[in-house]
């Protein structure tokens, strides 16, 4: 397959997200830029301008009308997807690390990080009647929350922490309903399955795990040889999980860095075996997103490139031989 290289960022990518139909791909980076691309040919639709700090996170609602981005300039901004206009800008005391629309697009969860005396917060905003005040503002205790996602039917919020544990938080009260320490080091990514009944976590301890949402039970584990920065579940066609990461090898000067040896690894989700790798990035892979129809995927790296790959036909006919 011939990957499409998207060169819209000058600094490392922090997150990429597809919209529900998969025709748009949003990418955000430390260079303050939020880009929107058409995923089938890599054509850039436009940019959302306004952030003055590194943009850590982005999410789009299911009708692709609203976009939310969280940044290190202590703001989260709500944008009109079609024309780039900023509809609302929420200010906080510290940087916003994670944002996500709920399944019904009515609520948005937002995680800010603890810094300089300000505690971490987990806030929920209503985006139907966009107001400046959150519906809920919780100060979760314990180690810093690095990633968070809505569970099925908004019953829980799943949060991954810096110490490697995963917690279930009740969105109405903010209390931590249950916790499970699944990783040794910080969680770097948490992506839900399409029905949100299970999710995959990626961690710097070189492993990725699948956990069931309601019970936080570990269902599968994938152990690699490199710290992982991102993991995603293939929604269709193949039972795969795609993970990526990479440690910045500081003295790579000759062959490897030019050839782009940082790889996205494909693992069989059920059998926990690695089935393939896609190389090409010149730096660690920071974020992976899979197209909702399972026919393509994209990866964003430390090198500032987003690579969109459309799978060849032989990808869909592959059968794992036991």
């Amino acid at each position: 397959m011939r990957p499409i290289l998207l060169q819209g960022h000058e600094r490392s990518l922090t997150q990429i997200k597809y919209n529900r139909e998969g025709d748009l791909l949003f990418s955000v980076s430390k260079d303050h830029v939020v880009n929107a691309w058409f995923s089938h040919n890599g054509e850039r639709l436009g940019t959302y301008e306004g952030h003055i700090g590194a943009v850590w996170t982005v999410d789009v609602n299911s009708s692709s009308t609203l976009l939310i981005s969280g940044s290190a300039d202590n703001t989260a901004k709500l944008w009109d997807v079609s024309n780039g206009k900023c509809l609302k800008s929420w200010e906080f005391n510290t940087a916003v690390r994670c944002v996500q629309f709920s399944e019904d697009d009515k609520l948005v969860l937002l995680v800010t990080e603890p810094r300089m005396g300000f505690p971490a917060t987990l806030q929920i905003f209503n985006v139907e009647n966009v107001s400046s005040e959150p519906v809920h503002n919780f100060n979760p205790e314990g180690p810093k929350i690095t990633v968070a996602a809505w569970g099925a039917l908004n019953r829980y919020i799943v949060a991954g922490r810096e110490n490697g544990s995963v917690a279930l938080i009740d969105p109405k009260t903010g209390e931590c309903v249950s916790t499970n320490k699944v990783h040794e080091l910080t969680l770097t990514d948490l992506q839900m399955s399409s029905d949100r009944t299970y999710f995959v976590t990626a961690s710097k301890d070189k492993s990725a795990k699948i956990l069931e949402t309601e019970s936080l039970e570990v269902l599968k584990t994938y152990t690699t040889d490199t710290p992982l920065n991102s993991a995603a579940i293939m929604p269709k066609h193949q039972e795969f999980v795609v993970v990526g990461g990479g440690q910045e090898a500081m003295d790579v000067t000759t062959t490897s860095s030019r050839q782009g040896k940082f790889e996205c690894r494909f693992w069989h989700k059920i059998l926990e075996e690695e089935v393939g790798r896609v190389r090409g990035h010149f730096g660690p892979i920071n974020t992976i997103a899979i197209h909702p129809d399972g026919r393509s995927f994209a990866s964003g790296g430390e090198d500032g490139y987003v690579r969109v790959h459309h799978f060849d036909d032989d990808f869909f006919t592959f059968k794992f031989q036991i």
């Binding site: 397959m1 290289l5 025709d23 830029v33 850039r44 436009g46 024309n83 075996e273 990808f315």
Partner: protein, 274 residues
């Protein structure tokens, strides 16, 4: 005599005009001529095949395709902009059940290592455990060996000159500078100079780009850009020699970690090849 509209001096000298033709399969070939930066004439052939793909999509998706571009893309034409979007090289995603997923790029490297493991490496100059060219005593011990046959040749030469039989090349005549001294001073001068090694350059960086980037810190005595022998693309690293050490130091601090053409540059002091 009628005045001709075109001056004979302005006509193109023999080379063809740019051509475009389409063959039966629908492949359009465009041939252009350009001069590249070395002043050489380059013939550029582009073969393109246009395929119209019909895709049935969701109404909302079709509507989104028609949105006018905004932000940095405002006012741009429909279609991907080559400044932001390029197609990369073909990669094969080999899916395998056996678990031998790690690609063997280092095959050659491994083969080399295996070969060397059997043999003992011996330096001809100092009999150490390294290659002769990598010998640390190349300059001192190496020169002695070179001087001995040179002296013998020189002795033979003056005798012949007196007898006046054969032509003797200038470097072998009596009174010629000792072998390697001039080269040494030139080489020494170059080695003394503060040299930085810049790595993680992109493929289409040129010497001009590198000197542009670094000359604001001070006078550059030379730039060496490593090029691939066959493709002439940049191999990713370059050496920049400054005249003044302080300039090199400031350049190192400023450029190390800086982005250039979508790659993050690394700058270090160059290790001399001893």
């Amino acid at each position: 005599m009628p005045v001709s509209a075109t001056n004979w001096a302005d006509e193109v000298d023999g080379e063809d005009q740019p051509q475009t033709f389409t063959d039966a399969n629908g492949i359009t070939t465009i041939i252009e001529y350009r001069t590249n930066e070395d002043g050489k004439k380059v013939k550029v052939t582009r073969r393109t095949q246009k395929k119209l793909i019909h895709d049935v999509v969701n109404k909302a998706v079709a509507a989104r395709k028609k949105w006018p571009k905004f932000g940095k893309e405002k006012g741009n034409r429909p279609g991907p902009d080559p400044a932001t979007t390029n197609v990369g090289d073909n990669i094969k995603l080999k899916l395998s059940s056996t678990g031998d997923v790690v690609q063997d790029v280092d095959e050659k490297h491994e083969a080399m290592k295996a070969q060397l493991q059997n043999k003992k490496i011996l330096c001809r100059i100092c009999k150490g455990d390294h290659f002769t060219t990598k010998c640390p005593y190349k300059d001192s011990l190496g020169m002695e060996d070179a001087a001995a046959p040179a002296a013998a040749a020189e002795e033979a030469a003056p005798e012949e000159q007196q007898s006046g039989s054969k032509y003797i090349a200038p470097h072998m005549r009596a009174g010629a500078p000792a072998k390697g001294s001039d080269r040494d001073s030139m080489r020494e001068k170059r080695d003394e100079q503060p040299t930085l090694r810049v790595t993680n350059l992109s493929e289409d960086v040129t010497e001009a780009d590198v000197s542009e980037l670094f000359k604001r810190f001070g006078h550059i005595s030379r730039v060496f850009l490593a090029r691939d022998r066959e493709t002439n693309a940049c191999k990713g690293f370059a050496f920049v020699s400054f005249t003044m050490r302080e300039d090199a130091q400031r350049a190192l601090e400023a450029i190390d970690g800086r982005g250039y053409d979508n790659l993050i540059l690394r700058v270090e002091w160059a290790r001399s090849s001893a």
